[in-house]
Symmetry: C2
Subunit: 157 residues, 2 copies
DNA sequence: GCTTGACCTAAAGTTAAGTTTAGCAATTAC
DNA sequence: GTAATTGCTAAACTTAACTTTAGGTCAAGC
């Protein structure tokens, strides 16, 4: 007999280094999909390893799962992705990294301009208002945490 | 009579663009301190404006409040900080930014090497294991979220 | 002098990204 | 064939960084 088709969740966990609970969570979030065997257990396609490794890499950049899901949605639903598929999404990812580096460099340069002047005073300081972000409407709520890492990545500054 | 010494929390909120509740929270977290007037209301020193603006700037980089507190702890407790004080802490901050940019650039270059090869497969891919981070002990829990933004900043890669 | 608005505290709610626990079912190993 | 693994679901818990709510106090204007 051929070995049962697809990896069990434990095997996938071992290959990726992720916790089993994390993999279930990612499936629930729609980052990967799984078939079920006769007994109702998950069986993952080999492609799940790559999807998960991409998730892990993107997370090292502080990209949110929501953003990662958007990136991964570019991959064809169930067809095994080709290198060309990966290339397309990697290029998009790379563009985001570039943007993020640029943002950091710009802010670093602004900081250089400020060091020693002790100017960190509002609202004059250029550092403080790179985006006019905070005072859009008087003390409006910058809704929860959605601001920090993700927006550095997403802002098209 | 001289105006009552120190800013009320509402005034501080207006000057910084922060919500009143956020300022109270920051005080509870030890990022700023406040005196109390006869009626028990907070009165902030002018220096709080700068501390808070620094907090907001650092947060745009995804630095956690805990890390920010560590940075701010370099400031002399109650003495009004001088430009030299700010310069010292800004330089430390700048060093962290530099590190972070370097990490991003290295990962970007790795990604470039991968684009088109579709190699995102574990455990061979260099991209996946920049730090040997995930498989330290077989599928050990990368404890909660403390990994993403903060460790990119802190890791001495 | 009293009403309105700013402040106070304490406690509970929110989001993201998971982990932990509890109580069962399916597989594998001996 | 049965014990030990591994897997399943659902629900509760965790952390960070706040906000919201509830119920009460202080201060300022008229």
């Amino acid at each position: 007999m051929p070995p049962e088709r697809g990896l069990a969740i434990g095997a996938l966990a071992e290959r990726t280094g992720l916790a089993v609970s994390a993999i279930r969570y990612y499936e629930a979030q729609g980052l990967i999909t799984a078939d079920r065997n006769a007994g109702g257990q998950r069986r993952f396609a080999r492609a799940a390893i790559r999807r998960l490794s991409f998730v892990m890499i993107a997370q090292q950049f502080g990209v949110s799962l929501a953003d990662i899901r958007a990136l991964l949605s570019e991959l064809p639903g169930n067809r095994t992705p080709t290198p060309a598929d990966w290339a397309r999404i990697s290029l998009r990812f790379r563009a985001q990294i570039d943007q993020r580096i640029a943002t950091l460099e710009r802010l670093r340069d602004d900081l250089d301009g400020c060091i020693g002047c002790g100017c960190l005073s509002l609202p004059k300081c250029r550092l403080y208002n790179p985006d006019d972000r905070a005072h859009a409407k008087g003390s409006g709520p910058r809704y929860l945490m959605g601001d920090s890492a993700a927006s550095v990545l997403n802002s098209d500054v």
